[in-house]
């Protein structure tokens, strides 16, 4: 796992995200899959919250470093009743965005 330093947790640590972006770009450089929650917050709303820039910066850095073939895959996670035992969950996979 790669730590993300949010201003809402500790504003003094936010600059350390540069290291995390480096690490994420290196992970992509190995051809791995990286999971990220780009809104940077938990919520149950059915509408999108503000997207943070970290994911885009990381992907662009990986591309700058020579990583080719990066695909960004949007996922929608939906729960019937997320706290209820034996309820249902749905995952909708969107069309991948090819960075090349």
């Amino acid at each position: 796992m790669i730590p993300a330093f949010r201003g809402s947790d500790d504003s003094r640590q936010v600059r350390r995200n540069l290291e995390s972006i480096d690490t994420g770009a290196r992970v992509l450089g190995t051809g791995a899959a990286l999971g990220i929650f780009p809104e940077g917050m938990l919520h149950d709303s059915t509408s999108l919250k503000m997207i943070r820039s970290g994911m885009a910066r990381m992907v662009l850095q990986a591309a700058e470093d020579g990583t080719r073939g990066i695909q960004i895959v949007p996922l929608g996670l939906n729960y019937e009743h997320k706290e209820d035992f034996r309820s249902s969950a749905w995952i909708n996979v969107g069309d991948p965005i090819d960075l090349d």
């Binding site: 330093f5 899959a33 996670l77």
Partner: protein
Amino acid sequence: MESGQSSLFGNLTRRAARFLVAQYYSRIEIAAADRIPQSGPIVLCANHANPLIDPVLIGIAARRPVQFMAKAPLFAYPVVGQLMHALA
């Protein structure tokens, strides 16, 4: 990073988490799972409703090891932090 991805403890933890979530939810449906490439660099971007379950669902949908970004304070929690380092 790759060594961590293939560590025995990390693999066992991921398998256990996926098994438990599959028991917890009676039905997990994945629409268009074939859109997730099975090789090459990918970024899986999702909404975030459940801090513990969401990463496991993404792992189930991806059918391949997934590294996650997670908020830094989680790494300092007892047990949870150790698990997260093991999965790193």
